[in-house]
């Protein structure tokens, strides 16, 4: 698959990652274009989370290069900051700050890392709270919200940094079933607004609706990269066929 290099926003080249002697990523290559929505799936332990966590260096890779918007991770604080400013992340466990109100959760980054004034940051925060449809919860604390609401706050917190890319690390896996859709709806809306997204998820309905590109990983390798029409109908690899059969049969 070739892509126009001018449009490439994230380039992962020959990346390997070890946890002790266990190799979590084995020479992984992936290009993501501006505005592209990539859904990564695969069995647990296949390295999907590790892969996206390497993009903003929550995990450091040992080999290969990761370039985001023409900045390559070179181990310096400068490249790290430059890339983290461009990349937002949403976690499985939300990771909201429990001692801060919803509004303070959202304004902390804009005020401290982007140097915004408090009133401006609060205006921005309310704007994104409306976008995730919970402006009325701004004064509450995270623990007073449902899981689905907490995850939407977490999405808004990331968006307040106005990133070019959003990473989602199994954003609905810790949620009760009835709350999954409210989060997926927000993500779908975000996708339709043109945001570049990489989503690790098992929600295949969402993947079919939203993804431009499906990526299947197994044992630290990218086994299959295909558009969803092809990916779900006739994947090339046997491993991918097996996996899809298991998760789509019910």
């Amino acid at each position: 698959m070739t892509k126009n290099d001018a449009d490439v926003l994230i380039e992962i080249e020959d990346v390997s990652k070890f946890f002790g002697t266990f190799q979590a990523l084995k020479s992984v290559n992936l290009k993501v274009s501006k505005g592209e929505r990539v859904v990564v799936c695969g069995p647990s332990g296949s390295g999907k989370s590790t892969l996206i966590r390497c993009i903003n260096q929550l995990e450091k890779h040992e080999k290969g290069d990761i370039t985001v918007d023409n900045v390559t991770h070179d181990g310096t604080a400068r490249s790290l900051n430059a890339i983290r400013q461009k990349v937002g992340m949403v976690f499985q466990q939300f990771n909201l700050f429990p001692h801060l109100s919803v509004l303070d959760n959202l304004t902390l980054g804009p005020i401290r890392a982007r140097g915004m004034s408090k009133p401006d940051a609060e205006k921005l925060a309310m704007q994104y709270l409306e976008r995730v449809r919970i402006p009325e919860q701004s004064d509450k604390f995270p623990r007073q919200l449902s899981g689905g609401q907490q995850q939407r706050v977490a999405i808004a917190r990331s968006l307040c940094m106005e990133p070019q890319i959003m990473l989602f690390d199994e954003p609905t896996s810790a949620l009760d079933p009835e709350m999954i859709n409210e989060v997926l709806d927000v993500m779908t809306e975000l996708a339709s607004s043109g945001m570049t997204m990489i989503v690790v998820t098992h929600e295949m309905g969402f993947a079919r609706r939203v993804a431009d590109t499906m990526v299947f990983m197994d044992h630290g390798e990218i086994v299959e990269v295909a558009p969803p029409e092809k990916f779900f109908k006739q994947p090339d690899s046997v491993r991918c066929q097996d996996f899809l059969q298991k998760i789509l049969q019910h």
Partner: protein, 246 residues
């Protein structure tokens, strides 16, 4: 508060059945007794001032020693280990004597009794504070750091706005303990002539020859002081908890 002090009433009959008690030395209805009680109470000023100054300094040093202990750099961790093990191994009384009599010679400076006491108590306590902070910070979920990184907070902001506010809530009971401990250990500074509660009592014993009564009053002074501090810490704990819940 009154309810908590009521067990003290049990001590009263003791004075009745023992013929060798001479409460007159601290009987506030007589002139000399009143002066003696006042003399003993004036020690409160330096006990409280010394303890509070020392605890503030030890908390600051403790935090500054704890942070390198959490670093990925092994030399920074080594510094933390050496500091904690070394300072923890010196008895407080020995440290007081060393700072008061030894340090002026070594550094070529004059140190007053008060600051010698503050330095010795603060240093000694800082090793324990460092361990408390380290434990508190380590108890915070890794996800809090990851979320902070993902919104581009630097190390100082992550600590200041995310990690420490949560850690301090968790270690508040332990910090309260240290304050109580500090109030008690401040009595040791009496050996270098600090005019705090214990020194005052010692001096009065020398002139009045009634150690039993005077030291009993001293016990009660510490008891009341520490009960008040404990109640204060508990109030603060409750307040911070409701902060987080409401």
């Amino acid at each position: 508060m009154l309810k908590k002090l009521s067990p003290l009433l049990l001590l009263l009959p003791l004075s009745g059945c023992a013929s060798n008690w001479g409460w007159y030395v601290v009987d506030p209805t007589t002139n000399s007794g009143y002066n003696n009680v006042w003399f003993l109470l004036t020690g409160l000023y330096y006990t409280v001032l010394l303890s509070v100054t020392a605890i503030v300094i030890s908390v600051v040093i403790g935090l500054l020693v704890a942070l390198p202990g959490l670093s990925a750099n092994k030399y920074l961790r080594g510094f933390n280990r050496v500091y904690v093990e070394f300072v923890r191994a010196v008895p407080i009384l020995v440290l007081i004597l060393w700072v008061y009599y030894g340090l002026p010679q070594l550094a070529g400076i004059a140190i007053g009794v008060f600051w010698a006491g503050v330095i010795a108590l603060a240093l000694s306590d800082s090793a324990f504070e460092a361990e408390i902070f380290r434990a508190g910070i380590q108890s915070i979920d890794k996800g809090q750091y990851e979320a902070s990184h993902s919104i581009s907070l630097n190390y100082a902001d992550t600590m200041r706005f995310v990690i420490l506010p949560q850690a301090i809530r968790r270690i508040l009971p332990a910090l309260g303990n240290q304050l109580v401990y500090m109030l008690k250990m401040s009595s040791l500074v009496s050996v270098i002539g600090m005019q705090e509660l214990t020194r005052k009592a010692n001096e009065l014993v020398v002139t009045e020859y009634r150690p039993l009564e005077i030291y009993t009053v001293l016990v009660l002074e510490y008891l009341v002081l520490i009960l008040i501090v404990s109640a204060g810490v508990r109030w603060l704990e409750r307040r911070m908890q409701t902060d987080e819940r409401n």
